[in-house]
């Protein structure tokens, strides 16, 4: 039995067949990603702006950001078994940290008009732009701001985690929810207005449209590519973590805390680690969301936002990274694009009287309830999407049909 476990864990001891499948998956993923990035670059720059691309670009950007947020929540809820509802709070910290650090110095007076221009008088992207040029400067600067945003969210998580992670299941959920509300109240308080701008919104910071490269008279835009780049790197890091020995320890904590402790896993340390890492990526996601929205206001980061991400995770399958990604894109696309007609009052040319504002959300939430109640494993369950998996699925389709027929005929007898 031990040999079997070793085989699964140690790549050098795996079956040659597995080894081959893993290689195909890696190479295939790299090729697919390369194709995706070329497509996104073309989409950003060369496709004519129309109603189709006008919907596709925002959906892809927001979908990618939510994919990261879902995966970070899945790391905590699905892989470590900590039912935390504090996501919106950490996103808020990340988004605000990003925005505050990247508002150009000349715009401070306009943004912080009620707080005498605010306390922080520098901008990281501007600093880099001064010697790298506008395009590259804002690229490097915003990446540094995003990392700082994640680190600040992680620091808050470390502080909050010390008391909160001693709690179990639903108490943990309600305590993290409470902390998210406290964070929101603090950011809305005018006492910290010189930093957070109180309850007013933050704007004029480096947004996605600023990520571009000017060569002579040609200006190349990298907005969508930038979002996907950050999201891909972050999700890749999370996947590496999940497949490492730490990831196995997280799973052990989820499956049975007492046995995990008996096997020598330090419960508090591993819970803390998962909480901090998840919050780091929630902070990064919040920063990206700020870049996407071009303005940010703390009032928007309510518990409803956390619930939405949680429902996406459930749709994708708790414990599946690829499921979370697929669900995030589907959810955003359906919510912002495909189901828009439900709010507009007609299908094509046929008028339907009960299709009015908000009907889309009703249909949406009924669909979610159906998934939660009847398909609780979600799209992927706890499996992962892989190229060889898809190929095998198609290969085995005939066999499955045959098996179904045999079963049906047996039942007929």
């Amino acid at each position: 039995m031990f040999k079997k476990i070793n085989n699964a864990l140690n790549p050098s001891l795996r079956h040659p067949e597995q080894e081959r499948a893993s290689r195909i998956n890696k190479v295939g993923a790299i090729i697919l990603l390369a194709i995706l990035y070329v497509f996104l670059f073309v989409l950003d720059n060369f496709l004519p702006a129309g109603s189709f691309t006008g919907m596709l670009i925002p959906v892809l950007r927001k979908g990618a950001i939510y994919a990261l947020l879902c995966v970070s929540m899945n790391l905590l809820n699905g892989f470590t078994g900590l039912f935390s509802l504090g996501q919106a709070g950490f996103m808020l910290i990340g988004g605000y940290a990003y925005a505050i650090l990247s508002i150009p110095a000349s715009q401070h007076a306009a943004v912080y008009q009620y707080f005498d221009g605010g306390a922080i008088q520098f901008s990281i992207p501007e600093f880099f732009s001064s010697f790298l040029g506008a395009g590259l400067g804002s690229f490097v600067g915003s990446i540094i701001c995003i990392i700082i945003a994640g680190v600040i969210a992680a620091l808050f998580a470390a502080l909050i985690g010390i008391p909160v992670l001693r709690l179990k299941s639903d108490y943990l959920a309600i305590a993290t929810l409470g902390f998210a509300e406290i964070i929101r109240a603090i950011f809305q308080w005018n006492g910290f207005g010189i930093i957070t701008n109180g309850s007013n919104l933050l704007r004029k910071y480096t947004a996605l449209s600023d990520i571009r490269w000017d060569i002579g008279s040609v200006s190349l835009k990298f907005g969508t590519v930038f979002v996907f780049l950050i999201v891909t790197i972050c999700i890749l890091l999370i996947v590496l973590l999940i497949n490492s020995s730490y990831g196995r320890a997280f799973n052990a904590v989820r499956d049975d805390e007492i046995s995990a402790e008996a096997m020598g896993i330090n419960l508090f340390k591993h819970k803390m680690m998962s909480f901090i890492i998840s919050s780091f990526f929630a902070g990064v996601g919040g920063a990206l969301l700020a870049m996407y929205q071009t303005t940010i206001q703390s009032a928007a980061f309510t518990s409803a936002m956390t619930y939405e991400i949680l429902l996406m995770v459930v749709i994708g399958g708790i414990g599946s990274v690829s499921g979370s990604g697929i669900a995030a894109f589907l959810y955003i696309a359906a919510n912002e694009w495909w189901l828009r007609f439900l709010d507009s009052g007609s299908i094509g040319s046929i008028e339907v009287s009960f299709f009015r504002g908000g009907f889309r959300k009703v249909i949406f939430s009924i669909a979610i309830m159906i998934i939660v109640l009847f398909f609780s494993r979600g799209i992927m369950g706890d499996k992962e999407l892989s190229i060889t998996g898809v190929i095998n699925w198609f290969k085995n389709r005939k066999e499955r049909k045959l098996a179904k027929k045999i079963n049906a005929s047996k039942e007929g007898e």
């Binding site: 309600i174 509300e181 109240a185 007492i258 409803a304 908000g358």
Partner: protein, 295 residues
């Protein structure tokens, strides 16, 4: 001295009144948690729905029909939610039931958004309740004075119901041990339905009183009172009805004193600070029973 009282009495009165309304919601949380070990995230939204049903009912019906109608429809809503969203998941892990509760909350809020069109709806003024009265020189609505009285009457009635009747005994048994009480011939599903019916009945009355004070209903106006009532239930020791009532009055009063001092932004945050402190110091709450996990 009299100046001081006159300046602060309105806040105290408002606090006691809001506390009573929170208490009516908190009982629903604490009873459901006591029996199902489930935080019913949708309870706050049921409370909001009751307010909204009142808005629509009073628009076309006279008051003496619409008030009973609101209570009946809210109770039915709670019953249906339990049967549809929680009953099929009885043997599922606790996390899935909680996710289902969050889904129901999302559904109710979105339905409310659809029916109101996203606009705040003005709550009809119930005659007699919304008249102004003067107490010790402080002018306030009659509902402020009536709420604590109604709350206390209902709580005493509920405690008697649980202590003296057969159904109440069954509830106590189920909350003590789910499986054993099933073996003893208690019809678990009926007991759970009864719990939801009582919880929603109290939430409906709470909503009528609460919105008489606040005048308008929006789809999210249930979530904050809901969370606060839950904190009150935790504070009092979840599963304990008197505990929940004391917790709710405490939260209501302190919150309004904070508002009176001028720290309105933090009046909501206080609730959660209280929650975290109580979970750190005494996770079982002031009246909760201590439980130990067996390996």
């Amino acid at each position: 001295m009299s100046d001081f009282i006159q300046a602060n009495l309105p806040y105290l009165l408002a606090g006691i009144s809001v506390g009573g309304q929170y208490a009516l919601i908190a009982i629903g949380y604490t009873m459901v948690y006591g029996i199902l070990r489930l935080i019913n995230f949708a309870h706050g939204d049921v409370f909001m729905a009751a307010g909204l049903i009142m808005v629509f009912a009073a628009a076309s019906l006279p008051m003496y029909i619409s008030i009973p109608l609101v209570i009946i429809v809210t109770v039915l809503l709670g019953f249906v939610i339990e049967r549809v969203a929680y009953k099929p998941l009885r043997s599922a892990p606790r996390m899935s039931v909680m996710i289902s509760a969050i889904g129901v909350s999302y559904l109710i809020q979105n339905c409310a958004l659809y029916f109101t069109g996203g606009l705040p709806r003005v709550f009809p003024s119930i005659p007699w309740l919304t008249d102004t009265v003067t107490i010790f020189g402080a002018i306030t609505k009659r509902v402020t004075v009536i709420t604590p009285i109604i709350t206390l009457i209902l709580v005493v009635a509920l405690v008697l119901f649980i202590k003296k009747t057969k159904v109440g005994m069954a509830m106590r048994a189920v909350s003590r041990d789910f499986q054993t009480s099933q073996l003893m011939g208690i019809k678990i599903d009926n007991v759970i339905s009864m719990t939801f019916i009582i919880g929603c009945f109290l939430a409906a009355i709470g909503a009528l009183l609460y919105f008489s004070n606040y005048q308008s209903v929006i789809p999210t106006s249930g979530s904050m009172p809901g969370l606060k009532a839950f904190v009150a239930a935790v504070f009092g020791g979840i599963g304990s009805i008197p505990g929940a009532v004391i917790g709710a009055f405490l939260i209501g009063i302190v919150e309004n004193i904070i508002k009176g001092v001028g720290w309105t932004t933090f009046s909501d945050a206080f609730t959660f600070v209280l929650l975290i402190v109580i979970l750190m110091v005494k996770p079982t709450g002031i009246f909760g029973e201590k439980k130990t996990d067996k390996v």
